[in-house]
Symmetry: D2
Subunit: 152 residues, 4 copies
Amino acid sequence: MKRIIGVIGSSAVDRNAYDTAYEVGKLIAEAGATLICGGLSGVMEAVCKGAGEGGGTAIGILPGSRIEEANRYVDIPVATGLGHGRNLVIINTASAIVAISGRYGTLSEIAFALQSGKPVFGLGTWDIDGVIPCRTPKEAVDKALEDIKSRH
Amino acid sequence: MKRIIGVIGSSAVDRNAYDTAYEVGKLIAEAGATLICGGLSGVMEAVCKGAGEGGGTAIGILPGSRIEEANRYVDIPVATGLGHGRNLVIINTASAIVAISGRYGTLSEIAFALQSGKPVFGLGTWDIDGVIPCRTPKEAVDKALEDIKSRH
Amino acid sequence: MKRIIGVIGSSAVDRNAYDTAYEVGKLIAEAGATLICGGLSGVMEAVCKGAGEGGGTAIGILPGSRIEEANRYVDIPVATGLGHGRNLVIINTASAIVAISGRYGTLSEIAFALQSGKPVFGLGTWDIDGVIPCRTPKEAVDKALEDIKSRH
Amino acid sequence: MKRIIGVIGSSAVDRNAYDTAYEVGKLIAEAGATLICGGLSGVMEAVCKGAGEGGGTAIGILPGSRIEEANRYVDIPVATGLGHGRNLVIINTASAIVAISGRYGTLSEIAFALQSGKPVFGLGTWDIDGVIPCRTPKEAVDKALEDIKSRH
């Protein structure tokens, strides 16, 4: 059974969101799960960095058509050439989602995840009906892993 | 100058949302603008029907790979084969968006529109920061047309 | 029944291919069918121009995310944001394909059309098993229309 | 530097093509490169199986929206929801392509690769201008690796 957790959030972040994302990535990796994200900067870079330091694998689903645009912590870059459409690939592939901070792009992904029946665990993100708010990276990752386990 | 207005909303609707969508489609057509939507049932069917009766053109951007899945009021069916990804095609093509009722799919489109800098006029839909709430189909269509005019 | 004919070919063409494409567009329009193409320059521009002068409608399926990139003869621009992936939208939507001249991009579309079971009528294009070679624009358009009629 | 080699070919194959694909996958893995393919059956299954037995990583870019459709030798499944459009993701991500046998789907991918300036090494596949024909899996993989090395 593949356990792939998607992490979504903005490319422009403050220190706090960056640290939160780093911690989420590290916890995903330490649990032996695989990370999937958008592969660029901000939340995406932090979570990949954390996954690497936790000994895990980071998949980066890129908007452009060149793998060189991936941040340097991505292990598996995938160049979609789809622009924002690449967000759907992240949601389709992940079994559960952790949303960190974010603006409209993150909201669009949250909504698509909920439409697809994927659980979304939130850390300082949009307060939308259906998102499960969490207080710490550990709570979000633990709940995501429990949710995946309960459905397989 | 092309004036293309996107209308988004659920495939499952009550009588009230259906009538609202029909009226929106009719007003878009009577103003000489072009309608673009998802081409299926519910809000999509109603707005195409209205556009047709107003003497206009309805473009239906379909999720599947066969034009036969379009509702019968679509004039220009486009079979994308992209699934939910077709929503981005609607937003990219429209100059302004009217959102009617809707659940997570509509929220995902609203968020993507706001991320893309397209104005969103709402009729009984998600109350998200950035959406301009309107009370009547006429208010929504008038504001959408004014907005397009002011930017060209 | 919608009769939509896709025309594919390069953006960089010589005078001969341009004139051929223009004639194909005019014949499609005069037969009352709808044209779909990639909406840019070269073969795409010529065929849209022909369709307009024949009194028909030209749909342009664009690679980028802005309708402004369409050539000026496109009536219905659709901004996909998919890059080359927009070629599949053209093939999925058309009932028959006319291929004019072209390089690898055209070959990729021809192959995808044949894979999808859509007939391809060729004018000075790739000599691939499955493509029906034609000598004149009239032969290609007549055969495309006959083929659509025979299958509906 | 990431060395990612794309392998394309049909889902329906004879014994010979299956064995060729298996050998290609094994050689890619033994060279320390990463495999990317369509993740389904036939050539895709064989090449993933070979990559696994060679100690490498197999990325499967799937047409549907569920990772469960991947063959059991895929290490990193990516569910695109794009249908045939997923082929472009394979080509965009790979630095070089090995094409094995195949019908129109493979031809479409070969043409898109050549259009994108990616080298294509062929094993019993379409004889298209631009494809470099090879006699053995070893010749194809060696040439693909040399080509990647020469361009970085």
